[in-house]
Subunit: 428 residues, 2 copies
């Protein structure tokens, strides 16, 4: 049977999963955690086979590290499931209750989106996190993980799916897709998949966005900026910039471009250059910025058009007139992910937060805080740079939609059109 047929079955099952109670879904999550804990040895053995295959095929040691699923990772995902069970039910929240007329009551109630397709990188813990987030929020999920951890994924999926179904959730609540070729089949399921969440490289996410009519939630680029205002504390600015760059350079929320206000450039840039040199950050800069940096660090001179998302210990530096120019630069060159102003001037900060059109607008802190765990969402399925639906780090709230329930006593519209009755529109 092809992916399409499977996903159609899932679509039919989705309303039944959506109609389960919080107790049923939390009990299933508990069963999943217990089953994972009981199958430790099986999981580690599968992962050992993946790691051996990766090493044999010459995968870099730093990558192999990400494929590893050990005692520590298992404990992490089990703690994550425990935390998820404790989180409030995102489903069934009443966000509006209004009397339209006597006996005619409108309610807006959150409900699961339905069928979510998640295509994610080779990190086995991501499979556990994503599938449990979807079950907690009452969504069916089609999961396609990175092929480098195929054995681990297959083992984890069988355990999770088996435990969820044994606990009473519909057979079609979760589906695993393994072949890379099946991704294109999934992209064509716009009549039965409600939302796609791709995670991975820019090129991969962009490919997904360009080849499907299914709504896509996620981000391709993470080209984050820090603007150092004329009112900035230099020491604070250097500390935040270094953290935002080196704390995890490959992350989408790492800073890539620094904009420095001209009035402080000659005084600030030598200090920043020294801090970056000490942190082993490679510096590229426009010629005018490079001239001010040259005494403190090695600089490669490049044009603004060559500024980009490095995802490594490299960043670009340019000068800018003021906060308004900085906002215009960021809106034009950025990726609407997370951008920050460093400065003591409240007015400049307010301007920055109003004018910058990004999911995260920060002041005096590292862009690396853009993350569902750090925001206190428990976990995230990803970070969205879209303007519709969820934006920024997406937790359980981004996995639900709502429906309007209207209960009457035989009310008809003709009575309101004729003037026989009129609406009260009274919030309850």
């Amino acid at each position: 049977m092809g992916v399409r047929e499977d996903v159609f079955q899932m679509k039919a099952a989705a309303p039944y999963l959506a109609a389960t109670t919080r107790e049923q879904r939390d009990a299933a999550l508990k069963a999943v955690a217990d089953a994972l804990a009981a199958a430790r040895d099986e999981i580690f053995a599968a992962n050992a086979r993946d790691l051996a295959a990766a090493e044999k095929s010459g995968v870099a040691a730093s990558i192999v590290q990400r494929l590893r699923f050990d005692e520590h990772k298992l404990d992490d995902v089990l703690a994550g499931i425990e935390q998820l069970i404790g989180l409030p039910d995102p489903v069934g929240r009443m966000t509006l209750e209004r009397e339209l007329d006597e006996g005619l009551i409108l309610r807006r109630v959150t409900c699961p989106i339905g069928v979510i397709g998640v295509i994610f990188e080779a990190r086995p813990d991501a499979l556990v996190q994503i599938s449990t987030l979807c079950l907690k929020s009452g969504n069916c999920a089609v999961l396609k993980g990175g092929s480098e951890t195929a054995e681990t994924n297959r083992t984890l999926f069988a355990i999770i799916h088996g435990a969820a179904v044994a606990a009473g959730l519909p057979q079609a609540c979760l589906l695993q897709v393994e072949a890379h070729a099946q991704i294109d089949e999934l992209l064509n399921c716009d009549d039965c998949v409600d939302l796609l969440i791709p995670r991975g490289s820019n090129a991969f996410v962009r490919y997904i966005m360009d080849h499907t009519k299914i709504p896509v939630m996620g981000h391709a680029d993470g080209l984050c900026h820090i603007y150092v205002d004329a009112s900035a504390d230099f020491e604070l600015a250097c500390r935040v910039i270094v953290d935002a760059k080196i704390q995890y350079p490959a992350a989408c929320n790492a800073v890539e471009t620094i904009l420095v206000a001209r009035p402080i450039a000659s005084e600030f840039l030598p200090k920043l250059g020294a801090a970056l040199a000490q942190a082993d950050v490679s510096v590229r800069a426009t010629s005018e910025a490079a001239a001010l940096l040259a005494d403190s660090c090695a600089v490669e001179t490049i044009a603004v058009d060559d500024f980009r998302e490095y995802l490594e210990c490299t960043l670009s530096i340019a000068l800018i007139d003021d906060v308004v120019q900085a906002c215009a630069f960021i809106n034009e060159h950025g990726s609407h992910h997370t951008d920050c102003i460093i400065g003591a001037d409240d007015e400049a900060a307010a301007t920055f937060m109003r004018l910058v059109d990004s999911a995260g607008v920060y002041r005096n802190c590292s862009t690396r805080f853009a993350d569902g765990f750090r925001y206190g969402f428990g976990a995230e399925v990803g970070i969205s740079t879209a303007k519709v639906h969820a934006r920024g780090p997406v937790g359980l709230d981004g996995l639900v939609t709502y429906k309007y329930q209207l209960e009457g006593e035989g009310h008809i519209v003709g009575d309101y059109a004729s003037g026989a009755r009129s609406f009260t529109h009274r919030d309850l």
Copy 2:
């Protein structure tokens, strides 16, 4: 200059419109209302030219009626603007305020989406409603109206745009597109248009959805169902069904398919047939339903696969076992717009509202209530059957997104990774 260049200018201006205050936007709306009222004669003259051209080209009288923009319609849109000014500001609402750690405060604040493209039918009042909804919510809008009212649209647009800019909003806040060929150009602006709202025929909306990478909000089909449960009051059922069909048959929320519980079919259908005959509704039914209807009304026997959205005084009738089967039927054959159960049984109603996967799930009232005005939203830009972002009738709330603002005092992520600091995650 092409549409693309204009929309790019609009994209650059969008953050400045987004940064305006409620007072500025409401003052602009007041100026728009005053300018429209002052230009009555000019507007009516333009509309007269459109109506004359429509009549000359043989447009049906019923359609010509919709193109008309007279004293009554002007009063309606002026009252609409007045109401819009009185509505709370959808922008700048804080929906989350959380201390992540001492001195590190996260806020989630609503903000405009940015640039919205609206393609709408030949109804001049729609141009006024849509442009003022977008201005109230701080969004730039590209407007393409039906060509049958080109003169009226051009006149209305010039007045609205002129008044808004004179009141201080950015020059690029509104843009009118007139040539049909420019629609395809607009559909390709996925790098500068954030959301498209198409209104019009199924085929037209589907064309838009199939030919753009811009997120689309709207509905192609409105195939609404009413399920008559075994617990239904027959008189109530007939009254609601007749209203849902004939009150405005061309509307997307008019009922198209009636499902009748088998246990009551032989008793109920003759009553329904008589009510439909009296209301001049053409009836199509499956053979088993037709047999029970034949004595009370004229019936054409058709198969379930031929049930469709009629948008006229015609409906389809089939028998069904129970509420669970009805929900499965509706989820498979419906358009996820608005569906209703008629019945006194609370358990059946609760099952229906949980299992039916539609934007509106109703009990004992007409499907025609699915409308932004009737829901008390003031006005609507359209009705969405999408599962992400806004669902159902979309008012101001559906025209905003949010951004996360994070303010710190030099906080860096390294301190949390090392364990030197930890998150407090305390909602304020």
